[in-house]
């Protein structure tokens, strides 16, 4: 089967093409996952290759050489050789010299096939660009050229998922290229949350509404966390939630409703929320943290939930200082950490780390964590490996939206433009910046290391997640991993995980 050589590593296309449509079961007994295919792989991160390239002749990519010819002809867009005079290092052996297989766009074939071929072309170009940017034989020039070609081929309003996806990835790579060239890759400022503020407020709200209706991600994260919180505070009269990134506050609407209607234990507890805010991070499209506070207060009043809201501003270095919080005796403290919902921006990992470790001193009853689920990448795979994984991740995301709303491509394009595109850029920027460093694969692991204990996902919680997914397209899956984590995935690709933890001293 096909093997591709990149810097001596073997991103194994076997891996991808060999995966059949996998997991049909969604959950497990108590502990392990039930991904039924490639059981030797601990993360069954298949992707959508199978779904849109069934007709590709993988044999064509075996062995071979002549990377240069291929790239040139890709860039030229035709079968003629020559043209651009680029000295391309021969270290990478990508494709067979039978690039005609790739380049030929047979008119007689159906749309599907040429679409697939186009999609593949884009993927290969992206990979080549990533490689050129960071590989052993870096070449900015080559990268630049490839990106130019990509921009010709892919537009953010393209008709296929792959095209739009490629457009955003191209932008991301371009930004990296520019940043690297100028020597000052302050990714933090370049890809700051403010990027989204320039978008119209109307756009962001519309996209947010659409995102919620078209996909289960937001609700999954919120409801899973909320259910765990409810169970943890079943007998408490006062609840204090410290929310790392409250955004528009919608998570708490359903928690309030649930608190109001709880039957066992003391009557509706008093809910207190402390929201952290960062200086200069205004999510202006959802309003400031204070606005969110006002909204929540009004909402709570309208439904009769005893409520108070506090706002804790973090310093510019975003270290979390627990003493800055106002605490009340006898309250159950919950730490809520939503990190990677689709409409969120990436936060600096120092900030998150400071928050999670600092909160340990508060001895929280429960810590809820929602983060994206990514495949751990081997060191050798480097940036390109992570790049490709990110590509798969977002490809699955795009597919999931399309599957549910095949006709509403403009609506989807809006969500992609407003939320997913900037996330792609942010994700790659982080990856680029931290390449070579020790990669932290997940915050969940980090919580374990720091000393938090896993808490159990209840049957009701798992049941709720499954029910929720039942409202959406049936490509979504929920898996229970370990005892404390639910993972939402699309087909065989895991996307978002929700996990719950307790501090060792708190009683549960």
């Amino acid at each position: 089967m096909a093997t591709m050589m990149v810097d001596g590593t073997v991103p194994d296309f076997d891996y991808y093409s060999g995966l059949s449509t996998t997991t049909t079961t969604t959950t497990t007994t108590t502990t392990t996952t039930t991904t039924t295919s490639s059981s030797d792989d601990d993360h069954d991160h298949g992707c959508t290759w199978n779904d849109w390239s069934p007709v590709v002749d993988w044999e064509a990519f075996s062995g071979g050489d002549n990377f240069q010819d291929l790239i040139e002809s890709m860039i030229e867009g035709n079968n003629s050789s020559g043209g651009l005079n680029i000295s391309i290092p021969k270290s990478s052996t990508f494709y067979n010299s039978e690039d005609s297989v790739l380049m030929e766009e047979p008119e007689e074939s159906n749309n599907n096939q040429s679409e697939d071929v186009n999609g593949l072309k884009l993927v290969h170009l992206l990979m080549a660009a990533a490689e050129a940017l960071t590989g052993v034989n870096k070449s900015r020039e080559l990268a630049r050229v490839i990106l130019v070609r990509l921009k010709e081929l892919a537009s953010p309003n393209g008709s296929t998922n792959m095209e739009r996806l490629a457009a955003h990835f191209t932008d991301a790579l371009q930004a990296l290229l520019d940043g690297a060239a100028s020597g000052s890759l302050h990714a933090k400022s370049m890809f700051s949350p403010n990027y989204k503020d320039e978008q119209q407020q109307g756009d962001v709200l519309a996209a947010f509404q659409l995102l919620q209706d078209m996909s289960p991600f937001v609700k999954f994260g919120h409801f899973t966390a909320n259910q765990a919180i409810l169970e943890a505070v079943a007998h408490d009269r006062r609840v204090h939630i410290v929310d790392y990134d409250i955004m528009e506050g919608i998570q708490w609407a359903s928690l309030m409703q649930a608190l109001l209607s709880r039957k066992d234990g003391p009557p509706t507890p008093h809910l207190r929320i402390t929201a952290l805010s960062r200086s200069g991070s205004g999510r202006r499209s959802f309003g400031t943290v204070q606005e969110t506070g006002r909204r929540l207060t009004a909402f709570a009043a309208s439904i009769g939930q005893p409520f108070s809201f506090h706002h804790c501003r973090l310093d510019s270095d975003e270290t979390f200082k627990p003493p800055a919080l106002k605490l009340v005796r006898g309250e159950a403290i919950i730490i809520n950490c939503m990190l990677h919902l689709p409409h969120f921006t990436y936060r600096a990992s120092d900030s998150v780390a400071s928050f999670l470790s600092g909160s340990k001193t508060l001895n929280p009853r429960l810590v809820t964590l929602v983060e994206e689920e990514v495949r751990p990448i081997e060191e050798e795979e480097g940036f390109v490996g992570r790049f490709m994984d990110t590509l798969h991740h977002y490809s699955a995301l795009y597919d999931s939206l399309e599957a549910g709303f095949p006709l509403q491509s403009r609506a989807r394009a809006l969500v992609e433009r407003v939320f997913l595109g900037p996330r792609i850029i942010g994700s790659l920027a982080r990856t680029y910046r931290t390449r070579g460093e020790d990669e932290r694969s997940s915050w969940g692991e980090w919580l374990s290391v720091v000393g938090y204990h896993e808490s159990n996902i209840s049957f009701a919680n798992h049941c709720q997640a499954k029910l929720l997914l039942g409202l959406f397209n049936d490509g979504y899956r929920v898996e229970e991993i370990g005892t404390n984590k639910l993972v939402l995935g699309w087909k065989s690709r895991r996307l978002l995980s929700a996990s719950i933890w307790t501090s060792p001293d708190s009683d549960l």
């Binding site: 049909t24 079961t25 969604t26 959950t27 497990t28 007994t29 108590t30 119209q200 407020q201 109307g202 756009d203 709200l205 519309a206 509404q209 659409l210 919620q212 209706d213 078209m214 609700k219 919120h222 409801f223 909320n226 169970e231 079943a234 528009e248 506050g249 919608i250 609407a253 359903s254 309030m256 409703q257 649930a258 209607s261 909204r295 009004a298 909402f299 549910g404 709303f405 095949p406 006709l407 509403q408 403009r410 609506a411 809006l414 808490s455 159990n456 209840s458 049957f459 009701a460 049941c463 709720q464 499954k466 029910l467 929720l468 039942g470 409202l471 959406f472 397209n473 049936d474 005892t483």
Partner: protein, 362 residues
């Protein structure tokens, strides 16, 4: 009721006299007082176990503490817990099994499977049946809560949108949707080109149908293709309902070959919503109807989202989604709130296109 095959704390074969102690426990009056695990007691037991993190994490001691029932001894709990643990596994597996191939679980199958797969042939059928009942009950509870929670999110979202609408200016925006919506029924001027196109694409029924038929197209076209051409309002409205069923893309693009979505909506059950995990609900023939169908009037008022039309022309066809699945949580569930339907009553829906609220999820 099945008779116990061997003596156990269930004690059903003795038919002894039972007294209820002042602690609320039901004890038998034979010389060796045995505890009768009533449904309520068992429910409490299971709640406690769940709270403690599952049968594997819970211990008789902790269960006793949590349950707080006087007269309940460790001995009672030990044996009951053991039975519970053994009985839980097969049930859980069964519940979680994907039913994409359209398996239907009858209670008998369930018990047979559990019995054989766990090797507990001699198992007390009574307990298992109770377990199944309990599971069902819990699932229904979760379902109900989920619905309420989604509503709450919707209401909150409404406050955000309203606020934004205000700041972005004005009443005319809100009025706009009403007009365009009605325009749908008249195929007014191709306001929603995507919908019209889809409409035509699938061999549109005559325009004399209600405007809601149009709505059906975008989401329901797959269903329509499978359905035979139907003229009865009842059937149409049921596919409309199943389409409306949630605020999510349930029907839109759902290509799942459910055994129910073949025009057999006449029993009023929405096949698409909740159906996967709730085949078990058909135990005992309960057709839990999970559709909440608001008044037609409610639908006219569109989400304030349509303000986007004037705010940003680019978003014209964004409203596609909302035209085709009118109103998100708010209206639908508000209507439901105003007129609470009987819950959990197995009920066939009344399929009249006008009025007639169907009972929601059990």
């Amino acid at each position: 009721m099945f008779h116990a095959k061997k003596p156990s704390t269930m004690n059903s074969h003795d038919r002894p006299m039972c007294v209820q102690g002042d602690s609320g426990l039901v004890l038998t009056t034979d010389p060796k007082p045995r505890l009768r695990w009533t449904v309520e007691l068992h429910e409490r037991f299971v709640d406690a176990v769940t709270q403690l993190g599952g049968p594997d994490k819970a211990t008789p001691k902790t269960i006793m503490r949590v349950m707080g029932v006087k007269g309940l001894t460790l001995y009672h709990l030990k044996s009951h817990l053991q039975k519970f643990r053994l009985g839980k596994q097969p049930h859980k597996e069964f519940n979680d099994h994907s039913v994409k191939d359209g398996d239907r679980a009858t209670s008998l199958e369930l018990q047979r499977n559990s019995a054989s797969s766990s090797g507990m042939i001699g198992r007390n059928m009574n307990e298992m049946q109770m377990e199944v009942q309990r599971r069902l009950h819990e699932q229904l509870e979760v379902q109900r809560h989920l619905q309420l929670r989604i509503e709450a999110q919707g209401k909150y979202m409404q406050t955000i949108l309203e606020k934004a609408c205000q700041t972005l200016g004005g009443e005319e925006n809100m009025a706009l949707p009403a007009r365009t919506f009605k325009g749908l029924g008249n195929q007014g001027g191709g306001i929603i080109p995507d919908i019209s196109a889809a409409f035509k694409e699938f061999g549109a029924p005559p325009l004399s149908f209600s405007s809601f038929q149009d709505l059906n197209i975008c989401g329901g076209h797959e269903q329509q293709l499978e359905l035979h051409p139907q003229s009865s309002m009842g059937e149409r409205s049921s596919s409309f309902e199943s389409f409306l069923v949630t605020d999510h893309n349930l029907s839109l693009g759902k290509k799942r070959p459910s055994p129910y979505s073949n025009g057999g909506n006449t029993n009023g059950k929405s096949p698409l919503m909740w159906s996967d995990d709730f085949r078990l609900q058909e135990l005992g023939g309960a057709t839990t109807n999970l559709i909440s169908r608001p008044n037609q009037d409610d639908i006219i008022q569109m989400a304030p989202l349509s303000m986007e039309r004037s705010c940003n022309p680019e978003l014209d066809s964004v409203s596609d989604i909302y035209e085709s699945k009118p109103m998100l949580d708010e209206k639908k569930f508000d209507a439901k709130l105003e007129r609470p339907s009987p819950r959990r009553a197995p009920q066939l829906s009344s399929l009249s296109a006008q009025g007639g609220r169907n009972s929601v999820f059990g």
